[in-house]
Symmetry: C2
Subunit: 765 residues, 2 copies
């Protein structure tokens, strides 16, 4: 926990510079546009603690696996989110003295992330070792209107001297990943060109041949007049730039506007890259910084219109939820169905890979409710496109049929290598099936089932069919050797969640087959042919559904997380010495594994997904049993507890859980934000408000709400798009106002009663 | 499986050179003397597939850990068996053409390991690319009479040419471990000196500062006359040598005798190393090769006198058992209580570390029965000396008391980093306790208990006390989250073997406490004081013994390997497609874990250790249940099955199991001998004959035998030392002849009857 940021409804603000917090701030103040992203590094040289990080979506590196002991079935590589060309760099020196605030006295330092308009702002006054003082004010953003474009306005004003200011804007492709298994560099130079006032650099990855072309142009004004000095070129290995010397004097502002376009071989042919980058750059350059920023601000206004949550009476909560929404929108825009939502987005390198089950289990709902339905659909199609790879993955592990989606992936191939996760956390397959249900249930888009859905469902069901085995001892189907969502247990037998989501997948697959048979007969027959679907498969699935084993404690009336869970010493989290928390930092792994403590919702995750299949008392009993044993050391845990607590009427508990998720990064709750932000868990915060406090569900094709308001909030409102209707739900202490911002009429359910709202009107409940 | 070696009773013989088999042969033909060891590399340059390997006992390197994902509690380093200065090297070239049999036509190649006299012999005729032919004959050994000394006699004879032969004997310390986590070199140069006909080299490890000094002298004869040519010095980084040019002619034999002494800072002060090495070298040099070899032969004769096993009627079995005994004697001599028995001895680098539970569970018996009792005692004292480190290790994992011995160690610190083994294979603690029992029971040396034994037993018992927990659900003590001896299961609950050996440790500790209280009152009181032993500890231990949970299937009357074992699909090994074997190479780790297949004796290991506590039928039921499910993919598995099968009267099965262990390396049964030989499992082969076919046990202080003879053997005999008596047990088809080769009278039990044998006489049964 480290609360050094100022409270503000629309901005994240850091006042005063602290080297110790710098890497945390670099993550938090990151900017991105779904296509590329940039940590909040300084444009000028900085020799202090820093992770310089520029990332291009979908550009990764298959780094040579590093394991202690090889296990058969491990993938050959572990994909790394690839730190690419540093395009923000502008070095400054004054009479030969380099501006590096690590060696300056710094005052009035303010770093601001303007979330409303989507830019990063930083200002400070630096006293150089020589005593010279300068004032700096810099803004930058990556455009969501023109995704290839990044723009920087860097203002520097001498305070107490005149002299020569040397300005050196550059592109540096000689970048090393912090996250690299063998300390290798991953980039090679392809081409570099430098001229006065502009330069281009093409680098490519040593494997997979991803090419990234960055082009820059810049201009400098002095006292608002364009500077026409000589711009010399500098070139080094994978590095191009300019050097400009200017005579400066007190209080005369120098402004450098640097425009960069970054294009990659993911979108264009290698030989076209330079031309395309230059063309995009030219347009941006002509528009100029202010116009680009205006565009940015308008584009963000649109985003906020669809996704904003307003909390009245709690600035801290307001700031937090906007930060989460902002980061989610910066990370994934849904325009490119080859992309997904990396756990750190563009804010850091940790964890590698882009796609975890987080996407389906936590993030999907956010995009479903706050954006064009095709965005959520693209998230699903991403998995559909990777079905063949998921089948290969299952073969690799020895399965003769079915698909096992990877735990972590960039392109559909598994790229994670811990057996207890890679091989055993197979519940991910269930979440991928569940996402299809969630999407169709929310959007009503049943066409998805025949077009894409059934293929995935059938192959996942086939996997489950082979993965279960019939225990003669129990007379039931069992699933042995798994890791559930709770990663503080490995290689357990009959994890309730896994058994349940497996059986549920079979149920839903059969339901979808029946639906297609009834409603889309022709399509159905095509699919039977294409998938080789046999009657006896379905019969086998029904047998598994009927005879699946679920570990249960009849006395307490709770589902058991896995076989033997009750053999553990039963201690509650509140009985632990707080100095022992977080367990994952304070305890040996051995001790963690043997304890009853749960990292994140496991049985409760299942009850959250399948709540309509369980009665209130069952959910309550399980919640009351598991919540006190859960340490929430996964960022994905509190939201599920918040939603269930809200459902159970445990408003205080719900609010407590909300607080743990909402400011996780802003307050560095788990002491790990310097690795980057917990992007996917941010969707959990949104869920906490909308499904938790708002009680939003979709039942029988209708949006339903069961709202309540946390005690110390005056009101809160959120927006949801539901089947073409944009609704604003405003929850006050004494009433709920629902505004239909679209033209279509909608009927929804609030606290069990139906309400019909005409287009562009509202209802107060 | 790869049978390319010739059968012979006393020699291992390879005829004809095969590059493909070379690394396997390098391991099999290794020579060692407990102090140092050398793979069967060639003295001359060889550019083909080879692992050049010279090892000094106890010299290791704490290599930086390599793991995919760090777990709290992992040790900082993984110790590597350290490949050190190549002291065997002698390069040859003829008129500038290098002798390298990788580029020659080779005929009449014979490599022989003479086990009777303890040396390696190699001869061949090589035709160089130029057509020049030479005959080579070379012998070498490391002396067991003077442990620092290695000697080589290299004879080379031109067949069809005259010309200039260049001879270059050297010491090369610029050695890289094949087993290195980050491809680093571990050695630095300290000193090098070269003169004509001699040279010295001191290198030290980059960490821990182990110094190794190697000194060499050599002489050359031509046609039996000493060569007096000029010897030039050559020096390179960590390399010293000489170059001598000689005019040679057809059929005139040149002989190089190279003597080396290797001394280390483990035994001497760094500043003395060079002088001590030179002094030892001088003596050896003065003796000369033939005299040294004579000494070697006599010393081996003594070893064989104590440990030989003679099999009549089965050359293959005879060769195999002698090979195993030879390698065990080469690996560990018991003179240095800081050393232990590395799993690969001096034959390769794999696995790192020197000490596994193999020592206590498999090797101890061999040394107990074939050597001075102080050798077995030293193996025990090794652990006693590391007790404080074992306590630290337990603290590191979060235990407040007790000792957990490391899974793999060089100096008492854990240096293995797989959580499922390092943290969970805690049964090793039980084997270390059991070894104390075994030693005392065999040797009758009860003084060990008060002197060393109780300290270790109490601390291990304290560990078990804290490691169990009381399951309210079961009303019993359970041990959760362990890996049993069967490493094809991880993180299981209530592994029967672990629970049993834990409870047994507590039983035996209490027994020893009672014994000391009764018999060594003063010592006992000192120990109570020293160990802080409390009455209530013993009471708690008794409660655990009484209420320990043992998974059992009542219907079948078998102990269950762990909770849930019967939920697995029950298939027998014989039902598997043989192409799927070995599972650890053919199946994904996931599939291995979920299967019912067992890598090595687990429940049966417990029944082997504690056989006197179980009736015949219980052992039979368990054997019949587990053996058909066991794939024996650990080299430590077949011996236990052989011994139990023999006990159960299953002679065919016992012989089948013996065959799997005896020629494991000679026939490269598991396709992994190129990594080096399975040294510790060789003790299992010895056990198979002595405890299996011989049925040897010690009960009530008496040696007891229940011998049988495999059908296709005519007779076999083994030697055992028992409490000062050397016995030869000769088992023939129709009788057993036991010869007492000592002067003391002994009474022993054969097939249930007592026999008394006077000194230096025999009895026929």
């Amino acid at each position: 926990m480290n609360q050094y940021l100022k409270m503000d409804e629309w901005n994240i603000i850091e006042e005063g510079f602290s080297e110790d917090n710098n890497e945390i701030s670099e993550g938090i103040f990151s900017i991105g546009n779904g296509y590329m992203g940039q940590r909040a590094n300084f444009e000028e040289k900085y020799s202090g603690k820093s992770l310089q990080g520029s990332y291009m979506a979908g550009i990764y590196y298959p780094d040579k696996t590093r394991v202690g002991w090889w296990k058969n079935g491990y993938p050959e590589y572990f994909a790394k989110v690839l730190n690419s060309t540093n395009w923000i760099g502008i070095d400054f020196s004054i009479d030969g003295e380099v501006l590096d605030i690590a060696s300056c006295e710094v005052r009035d330092f303010v770093r601001t992330l303007n979330m409303k308009e989507g830019y990063l702002h930083r200002s400070f006054i630096a006293k150089l070792p020589s005593g010279k003082e300068i004032k700096v004010d810099t803004k930058r953003f990556v455009s969501i209107a023109q995704k290839e474009i990044g723009a920087i306005r860097y203002s520097i004003t001498p305070i107490n001297f005149h002299g020569t200011l040397t300005i050196s804007p550059y592109l540096d492709g000689d970048i090393k990943n912090r996250d690299s298994n063998y300390d290798e560099k991953f980039w090679e130079e392809v081409l570099k060109k430098s001229e006065a006032w502009q330069a281009s650099l093409v680098v490519k990855t040593k494997k997979l041949d991803f090419h990234v072309c960055s082009s820059m142009r810049y201009h400098i004004t002095q006292d608002n007049k364009k500077v026409d000095s000589k711009a010399e070129c500098i070139e080094k290995d994978k590095f191009v730039g300019n050097i400009v010397n200017i005579n400066v004097k007190e209080n005369e502002e120098i402004v450098v506007c640097k425009y960069v376009s970054n294009v990659t071989s993911r979108d264009y042919k290698v030989e076209e890259l330079e031309a395309i980058a230059k063309e995009a750059l030219q347009k941006a350059y002509e528009k100029g910084f202010e116009a680009l920023l205006k565009e940015q601000s308008l584009a963000w206004k649109e985003k906020w219109k669809e996704s904003d949550i307003v909390i009245d009476g709690d600035v801290s909560a307001q700031q937090a939820i906007r930060f989460n929404i902002f980061q989610l929108n910066q990370t994934y825009t849904g325009e490119d169905d080859r992309l997904n939502i990396g756990p750190k987005g563009f804010t850091g390198e940790k964890y590698g890979g882009s796609t975890y089950w987080d996407t389906e289990a936590y993030c999907l709902s956010f995009y479903l409710s706050t954006a064009d339905p095709k965005i959520a659909r693209n998230l699903l199609i991403y998995r559909y496109k990777q079905l063949e790879k998921a089948k290969e993955n299952a073969r690799k592990l020895g399965f003769t049929k079915g698909a096992l989606y990877p735990m972590v992936t960039m392109n559909g191939e598994e790229c994670h290598n811990e057996w207890e996760i890679t091989f055993e956390e197979i519940h991910r397959n269930g979440a991928i099936a569940y996402a299809i249900y969630k999407y169709v249930n929310y959007s009503g888009d049943k066409s998805y089932l025949g077009e894409y859905g059934l293929d995935v469902l059938v192959e996942i069901s086939r996997f489950w069919e082979e993965r279960v085995n019939f225990s003669k001892d129990k007379g039931k189907y069992v699933i042995l050797g798994v890791t559930g969502p709770n990663e503080y247990e490995n290689n357990v037998n009959n994890n309730w969640y896994t058994n349940r989501i497996a059986a549920w997948t079979l149920e839903y697959t059969i339901e979808v087959i029946d639906y297609l048979k009834r409603k889309e007969g022709k399509k159905y027959l095509e699919l039977v042919e294409k998938l080789g679907l046999k009657e006896d498969e379905v019969i086998k699935w029904q047998d598994i559904i009927k005879n699946m084993y679920y570990p249960t404690d009849a006395k307490m009336g709770v589902f058991l997380q896995q076989d033997g869970y009750l053999d553990k010493e039963q201690i509650l989290v509140k009985e632990l010495n707080p100095e022992h928390l977080p367990l994952n930092q304070k305890w040996s792994w051995d001790r963690v594994l043997r304890s009853c403590f749960i990292k994140q919702a496991d049985v409760l995750q299942g009850l959250y997904f399948l709540e309509d299949k369980y009665d209130f008392h069952t959910i309550r009993r399980n919640f009351e049993f598991y919540e006190p044993r859960t340490v929430h050391e996964s960022s994905l845990s509190p939201c599920v507890h918040c939603i269930l607590a809200a459902k159970l009427g445990e408003q205080e508990k719900a609010y407590e859980m909300y607080l743990r998720t909402a400011r996780l990064d802003l307050d560095n709750y788990n002491n790990d934000t310097e690795d980057g932000c917990h992007i996917t868990s941010m969707a959990g915060t949104w869920l906490s408000i909308v499904e938790g406090f708002g009680g939003m569900r979709v039942r029988n094709g209708r949006l339903t709400l069961n709202p309540f308001i946390p005690e110390n909030w005056r009101s809160f409102s959120f927006k949801v798009m539901f089947r073409g209707t944009l609704l604003k739900v405003n929850i006050k202490k004494d009433k709920v106002i629902i505004t239909n911002e679209s033209k279509e009429i909608i009927t929804l359910v609030v606290d069990g009663d139906n309400y019909t709202i005409e287009g562009e009107s509202e209802v107060t409940i």
